[in-house]
Amino acid sequence: MFDVAVIGAGVMGCSTALFLARAGMKVVLLDRGAICREASGVNAGTLTMQMTRAALIPYALRAHEMWLRMPEWCDGGHVLATACPGLSVAFTEHEAAMLEERAHFRRQAGAPIELVTPARAREIEPGLSERVIAAGHCPIDGFTSAYLTGRAFRPALLNAGVELREDCAVQGIAPGFVLETAAGTVQAKRIVLAGGVWLQDMAAWLRVTLPIKVLINQLVVTERMAPVMRTVLGVASGLLSLKQYANGSVLIGGGWQGIGDRARGGLAVKPESFLGNVRLAAHAVPALRDARVLRAWLGLEAETADALPAIGPIPGIDDAWIIGSVHSGYTSGPYLGKLLAQAICGQAPELPLFPIDRLLAQEKAA
């Protein structure tokens, strides 16, 4: 009998499991595949305040710090987290207005974003196009190599005593938190659902209806090239994220949508999204015209009805918890897992959770 079973080993499940185990609980962490191979291992790894929803800025700021200091709290595990300035740019008057409005909200939430002139923006980012008419600058930004996430968490989880079961899909939950898997049952006193876009299916095991929308996000990476940029770059609408890694490759993202679904994963890029995304990137950093595109892939991101997170107790079922559906959830992930672990251990979390009652009520009303 475990104290807690955490279902889903993405960044949310891993950090929750780690902090629960460190608080003295006997934890089992189950994933149907390998650790951090879904959203948490294939995302763009941008640690940006300028794409994060305003309500999440306080969490993201704390998590940003955690990523940069990951080796200190994760037994040396790291994701090559790199701090750099972030710029969000506008090419049209309409975008400039959007930029100003959004910077205002995020500044109120605690992100140190200042609006700068195009000339100043190009001092910060010499690779930037002449066509930029306004920019938001946030000195707190950065990125990671998200593909390292599983490798970074795994030893710390094991050291903390977490029992990690990969390739072990949970198929259902019988009363008394008896988890059914192909390899037999697992019982725990408490459960945490941390299933990314599959949270909807997991909630259904408990007869809870929680609609989760699936976004099929596309990413494109180039071959290594000489330095063309040194910031994390976005656009006012949030539909571009661009940075160059130390090895010279440039990662182009921003949430353009591809083809796929919950059952089959991310299947294929849509030609118009592929072209649109790389054109937008090259519009922002003209030197990208000389790049060669190496690979494009897709990952699945979860979104609730109000696009705010689902983190907290599951109403009506004692000792059942949920965590996920966080916009820019990679950025905030380690801190949110820590918060949920605090709540599960009976402490008052440092910052409020995002209880899901609101989402269930909406569902009933509809």
Binding site: R53, Y147, W256, I259, A268, P271, A282, H283, L288, R292
Partner: protein, 469 residues
């Protein structure tokens, strides 16, 4: 541009498939990245290049002539980087057409559509890592043939030819003809392996005669043939100077080496078709029915890309695939009768080809012998020790190993290191089937951004609606 059938790859399989389909009245396009169709074995010499007219040349010329007369549209110098549509577009009735994106010979990107797609992408060469394999002067047997056949260029003055399979003797014989000195032929197969294959090879007397002729050339010229041995190391000061065989160093300025051929499955993996691991056929191959149909509708694979069976079987399998595609599109009234002859040819040729393919299958002992500090993934500089450390850290399949190490993330996308790496992962996780393969993704080949972008206005970019604040 819209077609009934698109054929990807203009080797013998693709040429025959396109010819068959076009002769029977379908609108067909054949896409080939080289300047002329021919593929690996029948690679066309450049225009104005007067090479020897051997059996290969004649067979290749016959396929090319039939293709030109068939009415199929031929697009050479056309590198296909994108495949999509078809089964990847969910729930469309009738099925969405396939879409191919390609760079034309001027480097511009263009798209076309087809109702059915026949993949004839051939193979990549397998080169199992060994100390020094990344030195300039070490090249694949395939690369050596391209130099010889298409450019009339020698890879070196004094060459060692090593590895497995009949290609060894073909390359050595061609090197001699072209004026190089062949320091040694180092064949992993023992003589007994060749003897065991003989009865099956006898199904194709023409090929057998060709093989014997190559051997005779080597004997006549006094070339040393070392059987049952391999190159264990290469050394040199910046460029290759010598290779090690059975403990002794042989001086040379080029090493042509290949450990067999691996079916090119990037496209079938991209379409999420079912695959099976068939080491005797070269590795992972798409699951096919008797008519070369993949597990997803209107997608076919023929030639060595469907499992290595050699150049003689390739045209027959191409024709079988084309006939199935015509039938599935409702363009062929009497499929049963039409397929009899090519299916028979295929069965016969596959027998001899299969015996050859088995000799070129991966030899796990080579992988086990790789020293820990030897680089396996040259694009990303990942060593055997690093791959095994990732396995010890819990990477139990190719995709996770790749995430943990970057092995296979570089420009070759695992085409060169994939076999060695998969074998290493398989040793740790319980076999190649468990190790699996890297997910297929676009582009099939790196694409210059400039070719994709074209000229555009900012207003034309279909930027989706902003994310919520």
């Amino acid at each position: 541009m819209s077609y009934d059938i698109a054929v990807l790859g203009g080797g013998p399989a693709g040429m025959a498939a396109a010819t068959e389909a076009a002769q029977r009245g379908a609108r067909v396009v054949l896409l080939e990245e080289s300047a002329a169709p021919g593929g690996q074995v029948y690679r066309a010499p450049p225009s104005g290049f007067i090479g020897p007219v051997d059996a290969d040349r004649r067979a290749g010329d016959a396929l090319r002539a039939a293709l030109l007369a068939s009415g199929a549209e031929l697009r050479t110098g056309c590198r296909v980087w994108g495949v999509g549509g078809g089964p990847l577009v969910p729930q469309r009735e009738p099925a969405a057409p396939f879409r191919l994106d390609a760079l034309d010979s001027d480097g511009r990107s263009f798209a076309m559509e087809a109702r059915a797609l026949v993949l004839c992408c051939g193979t990549h060469e397998r080169i199992i890592a060994f100390p020094g394999w990344t030195l300039p002067g070490v090249l694949g047997l395939a690369a050596a043939t391209i130099l010889l056949k298409a450019h009339g260029v020698l890879p070196g003055r004094r060459v060692v030819v090593a590895g497995a399979g009949p290609l060894l003797y073909a390359v050595a014989a061609k090197l001699l003809k072209a004026g190089a000195e062949v320091a040694a032929v180092v064949d992993l197969a023992h003589r007994t392996e060749w003897l065991r294959a003989l009865p099956r090879l006898a199904a194709r007397p023409d090929l057998l005669a060709q093989g014997l002729a190559w051997r005779a050339t080597l004997v006549a010229r006094g070339v040393r043939v070392i059987a049952g041995a391999g190159v264990t190391a290469a050394r040199g000061d910046e460029v290759l100077q010598a290779v090690q065989v059975e403990g002794a160093w042989i001086a040379c300025d080029a090493l042509c080496i290949g450990h067999g051929l691996v079916p090119a499955t990037e496209a079938t993996r991209t379409f999420r078709a079912a695959h099976r691991y068939a080491p005797a056929e070269g590795g992972w191959v798409p699951v096919l029915d008797a008519d070369q149909r993949c597990s997803v509708p209107l997608l076919y694979t023929a030639g060595d890309g469907a499992g290595v069976r050699g150049a003689a079987a390739a045209p027959a399998s191409g024709r079988v695939a084309a006939l199935a595609a015509l039938h599935d599109l409702g363009l062929l009234p009497d499929h049963a009768a039409a397929r009899v002859a090519p299916a028979r040819d295929l069965a016969r040729a596959a027998k001899a080809g299969g015996a050859m393919a088995r000799m070129m299958a991966l030899r796990p002992a080579l992988v086990r012998a790789i020293p820990p500090e030897t680089i396996v993934c040259r694009c990303e500089g990942v060593t055997r020790a690093e791959i095994e450390a990732a396995c010890a850290d819990g990477a139990a399949d190719m995709n996770q190993m790749k995430q943990f190490t970057r092995c296979g993330m570089g420009p070759c996308q695992g085409r060169i290191c994939g076999e060695t790496a998969a074998e290493l992962v398989g040793m740790h996780c319980g076999g190649r089937e468990k190790a699996g393969f890297a997910t297929g993704r676009l582009p099939l080949r790196p694409v210059p951004m400039d070719a994709l972008l074209g000229e555009f206005d900012y207003a034309d970019i279909p930027v989706p609606k902003p994310a919520p604040i």
